[in-house]
C-alpha cells in the first residue's frame, strides 16, 4: 500500500535513584525490582523476538541516567537476582498447589514461565540488561535517548549552569553505557522552558519531545499542528504528542487496559494465601504487600472477592484485538491527516514505559501485536524514529515552542504548589553554591576533587523531580521529603568543608559509598563560563 504517513512510538523508562546499601532490605528498592520483572525485561523480550522473527519495527525509548545507573549497579543487580529466584521458587510451589485448582493453574504456569524467562534474559546479559537494549540500538532497531541526569525539572531551576550540568552529566553517562552520543533527549516530565535547547545543541542533541500545547502555542503558529516537528530557532527539533493515541490507551471509558479479560492489578496473591506459606516471600518486616502474582481478571465492576480467574489465552486474544484496533485507528487518522495536510503526517505516541507491564499487565504484548500487525498487514503508515524522520524530512518550520510539561494542567503546578514549594529555596541555594565552589576550584586534586564531585552528586540527587512529584501525589511523602533534605544537607556539609579546606574523609567516603550515582561525574561541569 502507498505510504501515507509515519508513526513515532516513544517510551519513557525512568525511576529515581533509590539504593540503600546500608540496609539489607529496603522497601523503595522494590520500584526497580518490580519494573525489571514486569516492564523492562518483558519489553526487551518483545523487541528481541521482533528481531528473531524479522518484524520491521522502529521505536524510541528513554532510559534515564538514574535508571541506567541502577541497572548497571552490582549491588542492585545481585539483590534483584535474589528476589527473582525467590519469585521463581514461589511460582514452582504454586504450580503444584494449583494442580487441584484448574481455574488458577494456567495462570500459575504462566507466572512460572514468565519469571523463568526473566531469569534467562537476566543471565544472558550477566545481570546488566542495559546491554540488551544497547545491542538493539547497535543493530539499528531502537533509538535510545537520554534525559536530564537525575530527572531534574529544568523550568524551575534558576541557575543556567546547573541546568546545563543536568544535560552534560546525562550525555557523559549515556556515552559510558551505550558507546555513542545520544541523538535525542526526553526533558524530565516533558518540561520545556525557554533556552534549554541551547544546552542540547552544545551536546549535539538533535531533538526532544514536548507536550501538544508546547507546539500548538508556539510562535509563529505551527502550520501542521502536532503532526510535524518544528525546529527551535537554533535548529534543535521538537516533536510533540498526539492526544488521540494518548486517550485511546488511557481513557477511563474507552481505554484498552480496563478490559474485563485483562489481569486485575488489585487482587494479589500476597493477600490471598496463608500467612506462613507466603511469609518467606514478603519483606523482612513480614507485612503483606503486593508480590506481583495475580490470578484474577478485571471481570467488571465487582468486588475483589468476586473477581473471576484469569485466562491467559483470553487476555492474549484481547491484546491482539486491541492492537489491531489501534493500528486500524492510526490508519484512519493518518489517511485523514494526509488529505488535510497534503503531506505525510507524523503521529507521535508517548507513554511512561512502566505503565506497560506493571499496571497494564498485557501492555508489552499489546506492543508486540501492534508492530506485528503493522508488519503483516502492509499498512499505509510506517513506524519511524525522530532521527529517521529528520533525515528523511530535513526541512521543517522554525518556531519558538512554549514552555510546558506533560504534568496535570500542562505546566509546572505539579512540581510547584504549597505541598512542595519549600524545596526550591534549598535547591536554588545549593545550585548557586555548587557553581561557586566549582568556579573557585578549577583544578582541584585529591580529596578536594572527590569532595567537589560528591557535592555535585548530592545536588543532582536532590534535584530529582520525583521528590516534588511524590509530595504532590501524597503517597510516601515522608520518603521524598527525607531524600530532599538528606541530599541538601549532605551537600551543605560538603560545601562548608570545601570552603574551609577541611574535608572530613570519613564523612566523604561514606557518602561516596552510599550515593554512588555517576561514578565518573566531573564537578567541572559546574564551572561558570
Amino acid at each position: 500500500m502507498e505510504n501515507k504517513g509515519y508513526w513515532c512510538f516513544q517510551l519513557h523508562a525512568h525511576l529515581p535513584f533509590v539504593r540503600h546499601p546500608d540496609y539489607p532490605d529496603f522497601l523503595e528498592e522494590d520500584w526497580l525490582y518490580e519494573a525489571i520483572t514486569e516492564t523492562y525485561i518483558p519489553l526487551l523480550s518483545v523487541f528481541e523476538n521482533f528481531v528473531y522473527d524479522n518484524i520491521d519495527f522502529a521505536l524510541t525509548m528513554t532510559i534515564t541516567p538514574s535508571l541506567a545507573n541502577m541497572l548497571a549497579d552490582p549491588l542492585l543487580q545481585s539483590r534483584y537476582y535474589a528476589k527473582l529466584n525467590k519469585l521463581i521458587e514461589l511460582s514452582e510451589k504454586e504450580v503444584l498447589r494449583t494442580l487441584n485448582l484448574p481455574q488458577y493453574h494456567q495462570a500459575a504456569l504462566m507466572y512460572e514461565q514468565k519469571f523463568k524467562n526473566c531469569k534467562y534474559i537476566w543471565e544472558k546479559y550477566h545481570g546488566n540488561i542495559l546491554n540488551g537494549f544497547k545491542k538493539l540500538q547497535d543493530e539499528g532497531k531502537i533509538e535510545i535517548i537520554t534525559c536530564c541526569a537525575t530527572h531534574g525539572f529544568l523550568p524551575l531551576m534558576t541557575n543556567e549552569t546547573a541546568q546545563r550540568a543536568q544535560i552534560k552529566i546525562a550525555v557523559k553517562d549515556y556515552e559510558k553505557h551505550f558507546g555513542r552520543s545520544p541523538k535525542g533527549i526526553w526533558l524530565a516530565e516533558c518540561a520545556y522552558t525557554y533556552g534549554v535547547e541551547k544546552f542540547l545543541k552544545e551536546e549535539g542533541i538533535r531533538f526532544f519531545f514536548m507536550e501538544s500545547h508546547g507546539i500548538l502555542y508556539a510562535t509563529p503558529r505551527p502550520k501542521y499542528g502536532v503532526f510535524a516537528p518544528v525546529y527551535c530557532p537554533n535548529g534543535v527539533a521538537a516533536f510533540s504528542r498526539d492526544m488521540e493515541t494518548a486517550h485511546q490507551v488511557w481513557s477511563a471509558d474507552s481505554g484498552y487496559p480496563g478490559d474485563p479479560d485483562y489481569r486485575e492489578f488489585y487482587r494479589d496473591l500476597a493477600y490471598d494465601l496463608d500467612y506462613d506459606y507466603i511469609r518467606p516471600y514478603l519483606h523482612s518486616d513480614g507485612v503483606r504487600r503486593n508480590i506481583g502474582v495475580k490470578y484474577c481478571r478485571i471481570t467488571g465492576k465487582v468486588p475483589l472477592n468476586e473477581k473471576q480467574p484469569y485466562n491467559p489465552q483470553w487476555a492474549d486474544n484481547k491484546a491482539r484485538m486491541h492492537a489491531e484496533n489501534f493500528v486500524f485507528n492510526r490508519t484512519k487518522q493518518i489517511e485523514y491527516l494526509n488529505g488535510l495536510m497534503h503531506k505525510e503526517p507524523l503521529v507521535v505516541s508517548m507513554y511512561d514505559a512502566e505503565l506497560f507491564g506493571h499496571w497494564w499487565f498485557e501492555g508489552p504484548n499489546f506492543i508486540n501485536y501492534i508492530f506485528r500487525t503493522i508488519h503483516n498487514t502492509k499498512s499505509c503508515f510506517k513506524p519511524i524514529t525522530p532521527i529517521q524522520y529528520l533525515d528523511m524530512f530535513p526541512t521543517n518550520q522554525v518556531c519558538q515552542p512554549s514552555a510546558s510539561s506533560w504534568g496535570d494542567k500542562g505546566y509546572f503546578e505539579v512540581w510547584l504548589n504549597p505541598k512542595n514549594d519549600w524545596i526550591y529555596k534549598h535547591l536554588h541555594k545549593a545550585a548557586d553554591r555548587m557553581v561557586e565552589i566549582a568556579s573557585e576550584n578549577r583544578n582541584a586534586q585529591g580529596i578536594k576533587q572527590r569532595a567537589l564531585n560528591q557535592a555535585a552528586r548530592e545536588l543532582v540527587l536532590a534535584q530529582s523531580s520525583d521528590w516534588a512529584f511524590i509530595m504532590t501525589t501524597g503517597t510516601m511523602v515522608e520518603y521524598a521529603e527525607k531524600r530532599t533534605k538528606e541530599h541538601v544537607y549532605n551537600f551543605t556539609v560538603l560545601y562548608n568543608q570545601i570552603k574551609n579546606n577541611n574535608v572530613d574523609e570519613g564523612f566523604l567516603s561514606n557518602l561516596e559509598y552510599k550515593n554512588n550515582i555517576f561514578p565518573e561525574i566531573d564537578y567541572k561541569v559546574y564551572i561558570k563560563e
Binding site: L27, E28, D30, W31, E34, A35, L96, R97, L99, N100, P155, L156, Y194, L216, P220, K223, G225, F227, D242, M243, A246, W250, G258, Y266, Y271, Y277, R288, R289, N290, K301, P303, L304, N305, Q333, Y336, L337, L340, D352, L355, W359, C399, S402, A403, S404, W406, G407, K409, G410, F412, E413, V414, L416, W422, K425, T473, T475, M476, E481, K485, T492
Partner: protein, 295 residues
C-alpha cells in the same frame, strides 16, 4: 482578567518539618518561578541586618506603618532598569510571610518583581529585585509565517485534532484512572484484609491512596463463616535424589527435605510421591489416598 490584577492565589502556612535544613540562608533575596501562564510563585528572605540598615538610612519611624509588598513589573520587550516597566502593580503580603502565589492577570508577558516596603506616604523602599521570567504561552499564536501558511479552515481542523481542546490531559490521568478504579473496587468490596499497596504503583500511578476503613457492618445481619482445606505433604529423601509428586518434579532442600501444599478439593484423590536415586538404579514410592467430604 484585569479586575483580578492584584488578586493573590494565597500563600499557605507550611507545617513541614525541615529538620536538618536551615530556615533560610541569611540572604536578602527574592526569586520568582512561573507556575503556569497566569501565576508566579515568589519566595524571599530579608536578613535582619539588612532591615536594620534600612531603618538607620530612612529612619525607624518610617517602618512603623510601612507595608511589605511585592511590586510586580511587566517587563515585556524592555531591558528593565527599574523605571521603564510597561506597568506595575503591588501585592500586599503579610509581614511574616516568605512566599506568595501571584496571579498576574495577563497572558504571554514577561515579569520581574521587587520585594520592599511601602510607606504611609506612598514611597516604595526596594529591598531586593528578582530574576526575570518569560511565562509559558497560553493560546494559539496569532503570528503566522508566510512560508508556512495554511488555509484558516484547514488549520482549525488540524488544531482540533491536535487536541487543543484537551490541554492539561496528561500521563497524570493514568494515576487518576488507577485511583478511581481502586476507589470503585473499595466501594463495592466486602471488608477484607486487602490493602494492596504495591510500591512502584503507589509511586508511579496512584496518588494519595490510603486503604480505607470499611463502614462497620450490622453484625446480626451479616454473620458469616468461611472455611476451606489444603493438604501439606512433607518428607525427606537423599539430597541428590529426584522426587516427583503426582508426576510433577519437586525441588528438594539442601538436606533432602521437601514440603508441598495443594488445594484440597472435594472427592477422593491419590498423592503418589516417588523418589529415584541419583544414579537412577533405586526407586521408592509412597501413596496417600485422601478423601474430602464437605457437609
Amino acid at each position: 482578567m484585569s479586575e483580578n490584577l492584584t488578586s493573590k492565589i494565597g500563600s499557605q502556612q507550611k507545617a513541614v518539618n525541615k529538620s536538618g535544613l536551615p530556615f533560610d540562608y541569611g540572604d536578602t533575596k527574592i526569586t520568582i518561578l512561573p507556575r503556569d501562564p497566569i501565576c508566579i510563585f515568589a519566595y524571599w528572605s530579608i536578613s535582619s541586618g539588612f532591615v536594620e540598615n534600612l531603618k538607620r538610612q530612612y529612619g525607624r519611624e518610617v517602618f512603623n506603618d510601612a507595608k511589605l509588598v511585592v511590586r510586580v513589573y511587566d517587563t515585556t520587550d524592555v531591558m528593565f532598569n527599574g523605571s521603564n516597566a510597561n506597568r506595575y502593580f503591588d501585592v500586599f503580603v503579610t509581614s511574616d510571610s516568605n512566599s506568595w502565589y501571584i496571579n498576574v492577570g495577563e497572558y504571554n508577558r514577561c515579569w520581574c518583581v521587587d520585594i520592599g516596603y511601602l510607606t504611609t506616604d506612598g514611597k516604595f523602599i526596594c529591598v531586593a529585585r528578582s530574576n526575570k521570567i518569560d511565562m509559558p504561552r497560553y493560546g494559539v499564536s496569532s503570528v503566522t509565517d508566510e512560508q508556512w501558511a495554511l488555509l484558516k479552515v484547514e488549520f482549525e481542523k488540524l488544531l482540533k485534532i491536535s487536541g487543543v481542546g484537551s490541554i492539561g490531559m496528561s500521563s497524570f490521568d493514568v494515576s487518576k484512572l488507577m485511583r478511581e478504579r481502586w476507589e470503585e473496587i473499595v466501594s463495592i468490596s466486602l471488608p477484607s484484609s486487602h490493602s494492596h499497596i504495591s510500591s512502584l504503583s503507589s509511586f508511579k500511578t496512584h496518588p494519595s491512596y490510603v486503604p480505607q476503613q470499611q463502614p462497620k457492618e450490622d453484625k446480626s445481619k451479616n454473620f458469616w463463616l468461611r472455611a476451606d482445606t489444603e493438604i501439606i505433604i512433607n518428607g525427606a529423601t537423599e539430597p541428590d535424589a529426584s522426587l516427583t509428586l503426582k508426576g510433577q518434579p519437586v525441588k528438594l532442600s539442601a538436606d533432602g527435605s521437601f514440603s508441598v501444599r495443594f488445594y484440597l478439593p472435594n472427592g477422593e484423590d491419590k498423592y503418589t510421591i516417588e523418589a529415584v536415586s541419583a544414579d537412577g538404579t533405586m526407586k521408592k514410592s509412597i501413596t496417600f489416598e485422601v478423601k474430602k467430604d464437605t457437609k
